[in-house]
Symmetry: C2
Subunit: 473 residues, 2 copies
């Protein structure tokens, strides 16, 4: 059972009705592609967050930008919300129809429109997922590095400014989206950006849209950067006597400017869960999973340097993998952490944290939070994109026990306060959605949130674009 | 003599008067730091662009964020424009008081506020220049790579989304600004962003401000990324039989993912001017200047690969430099190109282009534009950050001869049209200012510019923040 929304968010809920005239108009415009079936609506009214909200009143399956524009124009006529939907992997309640309205499912807009291998760019429809994209560009010798845990869509990844394990080297969606096509709140179709690598041409609308979580428009095309597949790739796992030792090693790696492609922390507890789940037989100690990309020499140099740094902190038992199969086996631990954790406590839900701090403060932030989590008695898993200063606790709670949820949220709150006091952010990569509306104000102050609200009101005067997310209006 | 503004920009000019009550109020608030002396106003009323406009009505020398906020609040009371001023190196008319108003000079806000070497970040006041910043962080073993031609301020570089020769490897101000403090149009002081390396916390106000050219607020603090000084640096120049050969080499370097730190084109004509100016004795052929950063091995690998690619296109006479002194000598050609060109035609002004195209279209764009420039008979210099697809023609015109200016602007217009048709942008790094207002509409279409206008009107309802720039309202 998902939890009801916190009380202060309730005023945002259900202020509006969807008139039947709108449903009729949508069914006329989209004869076979507008559903009001409860099962369809319920599927589109939830995501990976742990909040409960009523489902949307209808779901439109868009197959083109014109479809999206028409749905927005019709909804606007009746002042009814539009909630873009990709594959539903949001962790923060982005997809919940807290004010009712229409879910616009773009998963059928899943064409790779143009691969410009010579320019290292590709343009896709928003429903293309990251794995699909990598499959499509494989023959070009290029790849797209951004890899949130789920096989999310490029539209959703853009909307939440997603990242993942490769961000330490390749950046996030912020750095990798070159241009967008967007349907605005008035149903106009605009283009932001070009395929040029850099530009000083006016306001950076691309980056205003990236991370705007559907509140300023629906993304209908995405142009992103690609990268040459590295000549050599080498992966390694290394166990450490303590989380602190693993984190101190990471900090040194980053401060020395080693161009490491991935450096992920898994705590001992999570290694144990993964061993149980996937029979990996890994040492049940805090562990870094690393990957090095480059020329064979450069990969060797990086690996040697990192080994030296690790051994200075008691890191041992480096296990190396250079073939794709061996690498996949090593990365299984990281990829299965979430599922292994969930299965370790049947029926549980995970309350996920997402703070990100400057690298020098990572040990402080992480260690104090581990001590707090341990003291709470709530089981958790802990994984982190530690090279970026970003990590996730997943507090495993029994959704039937409100006191567990409260305790987990209290831990989250303490962690966010700590991260902010250390110069960090409440959200490294998941977005604000519903869950972090209060944290955003804590982080930026009222002035900056007011500026966001002013932009929102100006660009969406009817407040129909995914209302109730990021901030209350 | 600078040129009058084009006719379609005239409605933006001088619609407002600065009441003497405002001047009195500013003089009362800033007793020794508000000047109405003509020489001071004229100094603040021009930049490196070739437009003429009346000077601002007063200049306030701000020494703190509170000073800036008070100046904005007072100006707002009288609906009078505020034009932020750093060191006056804009190329596009950003500093011109086209609607009168108050120039707020932030050059005295030139403190480096905090160097966080462990996090590879630094926070500075907006009047700190890039060279001053690098001097300040030198002892930490870190550096700040963004290097527009002039020794611009970090505030100005942020406001124009500047870049330079290192952008091919290190990105532009878009990628390197982590956080800002901004005085808004209402005089409120807000913070955008944190020192965390990545964030998904709400709208990306940092990147909305970066490149907004003073039209949305005055930047009063800038936090940027720093990078470890490379273990090894090697620079080289290489001459080519044709511009095409140099450009084809560059394209291959980029497409192969060589992490080259700099790759600059200088055409034969410009080499000739530089030889005359600086007695360098360089081969008067098209030339690439390159720099490689990394470990000694990696630099060697990169250099060998690039040499191989270059020789495939007839590139020869590689001249290498590894010591700082030798590198400085090689880079003199690039750094002095502008001055050498200006001195080649006494009394001339340069009309500078700034297009940037996807790398695969660079040869097409550049070669056709060279042919056009040659056919026009107007002398020019040509330099380019070709690794990014960005290059600058400087058409050298006699400012007393309107027909030369018209011919140069016609060339510029043809070049912009060509770049846009190839998927590029009218401005790689100089910004829109006054000069490219029309080009921006050509590039993005009315819809996107309307969105910019809507944001501007919402955040600056009195239109006091550097009005008349980027777009007409």
């Amino acid at each position: 059972m998902n939890a009801p929304l916190p009380e202060h968010l309730l005023p945002e809920i259900r202020q509006r009705e969807t008139p039947s005239a709108l449903i009729d108009a949508l069914k006329a415009r989209f004869p076979d592609r507008c559903s009001t079936a409860l099962v369809v609506r319920e599927h589109h009214g939830r995501d990976e967050s742990s909040f409960a909200a009523p489902p949307p009143d209808a779901v439109v399956f868009a197959e083109s930008t014109a479809d999206v524009a028409d749905a927005v124009i019709l909804a606007g006529k009746y002042h009814v919300p539009i909630i873009p939907f990709g594959v539903g992997t949001s962790l923060e309640g982005h997809l919940l129809a807290v004010q009712g309205g229409i879910s616009v499912d773009v998963s059928r807009m899943n064409k790779v429109l143009s691969i410009n291998a010579e320019d290292l760019t590709v343009t896709v429809q928003p429903g293309v997922t990251r794995k699909q994209l990598n499959e499509a560009v494989k023959s070009t010798g290029l790849f797209f590095p951004i890899d949130p845990g789920a096989d999310a869509t490029l539209g959703g990844m853009s909307a939440t400014r997603a990242s993942g394990t490769n961000a330490v080297r390749y950046g996030t969606m912020r750095e990798n989206v070159l241009a967008l096509e967007v349907v605005t709140a008035s149903g106009q179709i605009i283009r932001t950006g070009t395929r040029a690598k850099k530009s000083s041409a006016g306001y950076d609308l691309t980056r205003l849209m990236v991370g705007s979580e559907g509140t300023l428009g629906v993304i209908t095309e995405v142009t992103v950067k690609l990268y040459p597949l590295p000549e050599a790739i080498s992966a390694a796992i290394c166990s450490f006597p303590s989380i602190e030792a693993a984190v101190r090693t990471t900090i040194e790696v980053i401060q020395l400017g080693v161009p490491i492609a991935r450096v992920e922390l898994i705590d001992a507890n999570t290694v144990r869960m993964v061993n149980t789940h996937s029979k990996l037989g890994l040492r049940e100690e805090p562990m870094l999973l690393m990957e090095f990309h480059g020329s064979p020499n450069s990969v060797k140099e990086q690996a040697e340097l990192v080994q030296e740094l690790a051994s200075g902190h008691g890191g041992n038992a480096f296990e190396w993998a250079s073939t794709p199969e061996e690498r996949t086996r090593l990365w299984t631990a990281r990829h299965n952490a979430y599922f292994a954790a969930i299965q370790s406590k049947p029926g549980c839900r995970s309350i996920s944290t997402d703070t990100c701090v400057p690298i020098s403060r990572l040990a402080d932030c992480l260690l104090e939070s581990v001590a707090e989590a341990d003291a709470s008695g709530i089981p958790y898993f802990l994984v982190g994109h530690v090279g970026d200063g970003n990590f996730h606790f997943g507090y495993l709670i029994d959704p039937e026990k409100p006191q567990e949820r409260e305790a987990a949220e209290a831990l989250n709150h303490q962690l966010v306060n700590r991260a902010l006091s250390l110069g960090g952010t409440c959200s490294g990569e998941h977005g604000i959605g519903l869950h972090k509306i209060d944290f955003l104000v804590l982080e930026t102050g009222d002035g900056a949130v007011d500026m966001m609200r002013t932009i929102k009101r100006a660009l969406d005067p009817k407040n129909i674009m995914n209302p109730g997310k990021i901030f209350t209006l």
